[in-house]
């Protein structure tokens, strides 16, 4: 790149790169602005938010957070969100990886059919089936419980997880498996000790790709959950918006707390995520 930039014939690329930088910076600004405003507003009272919307707040003033955590059901929602998202992701990863492994590594006539069956799930928006789903969950006595959300999210997440895992596992060399088989590893052992350690990047993709929408989902909790004790964050936060007045400071504090875990998870996994996205691009 530097060699290119120094040569006289490379004026064009520099201008292009400059333009790209401007666009990217503008884009980051647009993306980050609401997040920054949310965090800043979380430290202000409702009055301050409307008086000085862009002013830096006094960061020692954590009254909103104290109120949200102490006086509302926010901690319950938070725990519910963690339980629902956590168990859903674990189920998606365990089942998706096993199904993907079987589809990718074992030769069978039914493999293509099974993969296509999972892919069909990708093309079907489950929200369309919310009424039969509601009836099904009612008949299973799962309605108004965390399990109603967990089974639904797992079903939604599995197709993409199987697709991602199968695609990646198929690209691993078969000789590795043969070597492990000769070394004396059983089939589960080959999967566990040899293949899965290599499959961390696609697992991170499957995890993040599913965790963000599950964590943020408002639709299914709204339909399935009535009891306050089982509500998740997005649904719970709406209770902060009153019919006549809204404590904006508190709402922003709640939103900040709600957004934090998934943001941290994304940052933690982003390296693996990017690695997985670009896997195979460069040898």
């Amino acid at each position: 790149m530097t060699a290119l930039a120094n040569s006289p014939s490379s004026r064009q690329p520099i201008t292009f790169a400059f333009l790209a930088q401007v666009i990217l910076i503008a884009n980051s600004f647009i993306m980050l602005y609401p997040v920054v405003v949310m965090v800043l507003s979380a430290f202000k009272t409702t009055g301050e938010i409307f008086e000085h919307p862009f002013a830096l707040p006094d960061f020692t003033q954590v009254g909103n957070f104290a109120k949200v955590l102490g006086e509302t059901s926010m901690p319950t929602y938070f725990v519910n969100s963690i339980i629902v998202t956590g168990i859903s992701i674990i189920l998606i990863l365990v089942l998706g990886t096993m199904a993907g492994y079987a589809v990718a590594r074992y030769e069978s006539r039914t493999n293509t059919f099974i993969l296509l069956f999972f892919l069909a799930g990708l093309m079907l928006p489950l929200k369309l089936a919310v009424i039969p789903l509601f009836i099904l969950l009612r008949d299973l006595n799962l309605l108004d419980s965390r399990w109603s959300l967990i089974v639904t999210y797992t079903a939604i997440g599995l197709p993409s997880a199987v697709f991602i895992m199968a695609g990646f596992l198929r690209s691993l060399p078969a000789e590795l498996e043969d070597a492990a088989r000769i070394d004396g590893a059983s089939e589960p052992r080959i999967m566990w000790s040899v293949m899965l350690p290599l499959a961390r990047p696609p697992m991170a993709i499957a995890a993040i790709q599913n965790a963000v929408p599950i964590w943020n989902d408002f639709f299914f909790p709204l339909v399935f959950i009535q009891t306050d004790a089982y509500k998740t964050l997005p649904q719970g936060l709406t209770t902060f918006m009153g019919e006549y007045t809204t404590d904006w400071g508190m709402l922003f504090a709640g939103l900040t707390i709600a957004a934090a875990p998934i943001t941290l998870l994304y940052i933690a996994l982003s390296r693996q995520f990017i690695q997985g996205m670009t896997a195979g691009a460069v040898k």
């Binding site: 060399p173 000789e175 043969d178 070597a179 088989r181 000769i182 070394d183 004396g184 350690p197 290599l198």
Partner: protein, 356 residues
């Protein structure tokens, strides 16, 4: 250490027959090389011995035991793969010790055996590295170390040198051979490179199209090839073949030259035979010498040690390797005379019928 015996072994995928009845006997401690062009079934046969492919028919014994239905881990074999197949997420030591760990060998003994194998291969300073931090030759050595650690009855090598550059290949060739001389473990080695086969093997099995063409010691195959395929496959540059007609007094070539043949060729006069002569058995002779082939020089390739001469003759081009330097130029006329008693005659089916 053990004998390996392969009896009428067959393999087919659906209706496609890959291995069509192969018999090979491998003695205890022998270094046997399966060689043949790609697609001849040699790797498949090796994978069948390893237990990675099912056996459609026949019987494979390792030692006294029929292993047809024994899973790979219980066959007491170790295999080195073409891609080395090192576990990328394990260190060299973990790679080498993986089989011992699975077998439940006590940790102290694992460590000792891995250490011994590493020391014998010069890998001791690399034990804590990951495969990605190693060069090609080092990875190759780790793959061999992983096999040695298990102290198996049989070593299987599947084209282990084909990913290395030419210089390293020669070096590793010597290392593998030295390793075999030290451990004396029965070894079955697959390659498509006939030089590897000639230099390393106690016994070569030449395969072609799912069948065994010939089994023998390297020089035996070189000196007395059983058929035209083996004659053409073993030796570099490859043997020259000239089609001719058997008559009283010799073999008549397309250009009218007459090459002398042995008196008792078991073929009727007038039958079509192929005359095979190795490049190093063609010598330059004065024009008009009886029993020689007139030709025109096409290419001269001096390699320093010898000179390869490609000439155009009536009935095709011939290759000659001359020990002495020569001042020939392309386009010049040259006369080549086959050395006495070094030629081979093949019949219409490619079978060797006689020497000439």
């Amino acid at each position: 250490m053990a004998q390996v015996s392969i009896r009428d072994v067959r393999k087919s995928f659906g209706s496609v027959s890959i291995i069509k009845g192969v018999d090979i006997d491998i003695q205890d401690g022998e270094f046997v090389i399966l060689v043949g062009p790609s697609g001849c079934g040699k790797s498949t046969l090796l994978r069948m011995i390893a237990g990675l492919e099912d056996i459609t028919g026949g019987e494979i014994r390792i030692g006294p035991r029929v292993v047809n239905d024994v899973p790979p881990k219980d066959r007491d074999i170790a295999m080195v793969f073409q891609s080395y197949a090192l576990y990328p997420h394990m260190t060299v030591a973990e790679n080498m010790g993986f089989s011992l760990k699975l077998k439940g060998v006590p940790q102290a003994e694992q460590k000792k055996r891995v250490g011994d194998a590493a020391a014998s291969l010069g890998l001791t300073p690399l034990l804590d590295r990951y495969p990605r931090q190693l060069s090609g030759g080092q990875r190759q050595r780790v793959a061999m170390g992983r096999a040695i650690v298990r102290d198996p009855q049989v070593f299987l090598f599947d084209e282990p040198l084909s990913n290395l550059d030419a210089k390293l290949r020669v070096q590793m060739r010597a290392e593998i051979k030295e390793l075999h001389q030290r451990l004396k473990t029965t070894t079955i080695y697959v390659t498509h490179d006939q030089i590897e086969a000639m230099t390393m093997a106690d016994k070569i099995v030449v395969m072609h199209d799912g069948t065994v063409e010939q089994i023998g010691a390297p020089l035996e195959l070189y000196d007395r090839p059983a058929n035209r395929f083996v004659a053409g496959f073993i030796g570099s540059p490859a043997m020259n073949f000239i089609d001719g007609r058997l008559e009283q007094g010799g073999l008549i070539l397309p250009g009218g030259a007459v090459l002398p043949v042995e008196a008792q060729v078991p073929a009727a006069p007038g039958s079509k035979l192929t005359y095979g002569i190795r490049p190093e058995h063609l010598h330059i002779a004065p024009a008009g010498t009886p029993g020689s082939i007139p030709a025109t020089v096409a290419v001269v390739e001096p390699t320093g040690a010898d000179t390869t001469l490609i000439v155009k003759a009536e009935g095709g081009s011939l290759t000659a390797v001359l020990r002495e330097r020569c001042a020939l130029r392309p386009g010049e006329a040259v006369t080549l005379k086959p050395a006495a008693h070094q030629a081979h005659l093949f019949d219409g089916q490619g079978r060797r019928v006689a020497a000439a």
